[in-house]
């Protein structure tokens, strides 16, 4: 395999505005299909007593998450029709003509990347704006982000600049699928698998 592209999410910058999500929805005319990119709101904290007074120490941070084009894509492994494939350029791409809409990939993916289209009756997912990348441009979500919280490029270069942190709640530990994503953590960022923070907008994403 040649190049492996990946995303970097700077949680310290992301304000949860969802411009990335909207740009993607508009460009791919997703309609009733859930978004390819979703902004997760992680929140936690508690109340603390100090003398007779109570203070809260609550926090929220946002993570913009789409398909991470994992090195060990569990969606591809469970797909019975061969529709989901990791390509030579590292993108995990869904062939909608091959897909039978069984939903196995959605059950397996820990990032909720594949979603079911009730109109097309097949699964759909982020392909990393492969066509744009071939033209030398960055994916739409990255281009649209007003806070420049998203970055796209060859994952080795990104990891060289920003490290390889990806185990941030509410995402699972990277050891499950080896995602090609780097997360610059928010100052309140919690490690994966913690019970200290929960996904606050589970119904929304």
């Amino acid at each position: 395999m040649g190049k492996q592209y990946g995303f970097r999410v700077n949680a310290a910058r992301c304000t949860g505005c969802k411009t990335c999500e909207m740009a993607c929805r508009d460009a791919y005319q997703l309609g009733e299909t859930p978004s390819f990119r979703r902004v997760c709101e992680a929140s936690g904290g508690t109340w603390m007593q100090e003398g007779a007074a109570w203070h809260h120490q609550v926090f929220t941070y946002y993570l913009s998450i789409a398909c991470n084009h994992c090195d060990d894509p569990v969606c591809q492994q469970v797909c019975p029709s061969g529709a989901m494939r990791k390509q030579d350029d590292g993108f995990v791409v869904l062939d909608s003509h091959q897909c039978i809409g069984c939903g196995s990939c959605a059950f397996a993916c820990p990032y909720k990347a594949p979603s079911y289209s009730r109109v097309l009756r097949v699964m759909r997912k982020c392909d990393g704006c492969r066509a744009r990348v071939e033209e030398g441009r960055v994916p739409l979500c990255v281009e649209a982000c007003p806070m420049r919280a998203l970055e796209f490029g060859e994952i080795d270069e990104i990891r060289g600049r920003h490290g390889s942190q990806c185990d941030v709640a509410p995402l699972p530990p990277g050891s499950y699928t080896r995602p090609n994503i780097v997360i610059t953590s928010h100052r309140h960022g919690c490690p994966s698998d913690t019970a200290q923070c929960v996904l606050a907008n589970g119904k929304e994403i």
Binding site: V74, V78, P80, I100, P110, Y116, L171, T177, V198, L199
Partner: protein
């Protein structure tokens, strides 16, 4: 992911298909060891046809959960590489094998003991299907389904349902003597104990894996109620069924009532399987 309601075809398929497989395995064991003289009746005529049709209907029903049911045959594309492909292939092989067996069984039985070889093959296909079904949902990112207690449930359903179904047929046809029925009741008691243990073990897995969810308490309350209903239905159903089997003159009514309760417990278990699905990552509401 779609809601648990949209997965109803899979609830039906994973309840009925293992039951048919279990019935064929139990029948084959009874037949291969010549447990009673009329044992061949269990695999031929109405009984054999009934289980073939039920199995074919369950398999057809399973395609309804697909976005494109007409393209269901593409599920074979990754045979050997995808656990779901293996399960579907084993299911189709089993349907074809038992249908062919039912079609030619009368001729085979008339020709002598040769009929036992194809019957053993059908039972082997049934066993293979149950094995692949146990493995089909084992995804490393879904700790509930990946756990042994959820995987082994398919095998428990097959044996529990198979024994109960064959018992009802024995009662209905007034087949087999007291020893055969006592043997089935002993097998049923063991399966019943295994099923109750499985429900208990699944509870521990669910409790561990839903803790990160905001609605964890609500989910666990639901699990507790459903788990209690399942255990109650399994135990009460098995008891009624055994009562029907061991009565002085076997009571079909008791046996059918017990079997219906056991079936209800199986369906509730399959519903729980999808309802309490938990991924290691983002919750799939």
């Amino acid at each position: 992911m779609r809601s648990v309601v949209s997965e109803w075809p899979l609830v039906v398929f994973t309840s009925v298909a293992p039951l048919c497989a279990g019935a064929w395995i139990v029948t084959a064991l009874l037949a291969l060891f010549d447990v009673f003289p009329e044992v061949t009746l269990l695999t031929t005529g109405f009984t054999g046809t009934f289980f073939c049709l039920l199995l074919a209907a369950a398999l057809a029903c399973s395609t309804l959960h697909l976005g494109k049911p007409a393209a269901a045959l593409r599920a074979f594309m990754r045979l050997g590489n995808s656990a779901v492909s293996n399960e579907v292939f084993a299911g189709v092989l089993f349907v074809v094998a038992c249908c062919l067996y039912v079609l030619v069984s009368q001729n085979l039985i008339a020709a002598g003991d040769m009929w036992k070889i194809p019957l053993a093959f059908v039972a082997g296909c049934a066993g293979l299907f149950v094995l692949f079904q146990c493995l089909a949902y084992r995804m490393r990112t879904v700790p509930t389904w990946h756990s042994p207690s959820f995987s082994v449930e398919f095998a428990v359903i097959a044996l529990l349902g198979g024994v109960v179904a064959e018992g009802v047929i024995l009662c209905g046809g007034q087949l087999g003597d007291g020893t055969v029925r006592q043997g089935l009741v002993v097998a049923e008691v063991l399966c019943c104990a295994a099923a109750v243990f499985v429900v208990h073990a699944q509870g521990a897995v669910v409790a561990k894996n839903v803790r990160r969810r905001r609605d964890a308490y609500r989910l666990l309350e639901q699990w507790n109620v459903l788990g209690a209903v399942r255990v109650l239905a399994i135990v009460a159903g098995s008891t009624l069924w055994a009562f029907g089997m061991l009565g002085a003159s076997a009571s079909l009514t008791w046996a059918i009532t017990g079997a219906a309760l056991v079936m209800a417990a199986i369906v509730a278990g399959r519903y729980s399987f999808y309802r309490f699905y938990a991924n290691v990552g983002l919750p799939q509401d």
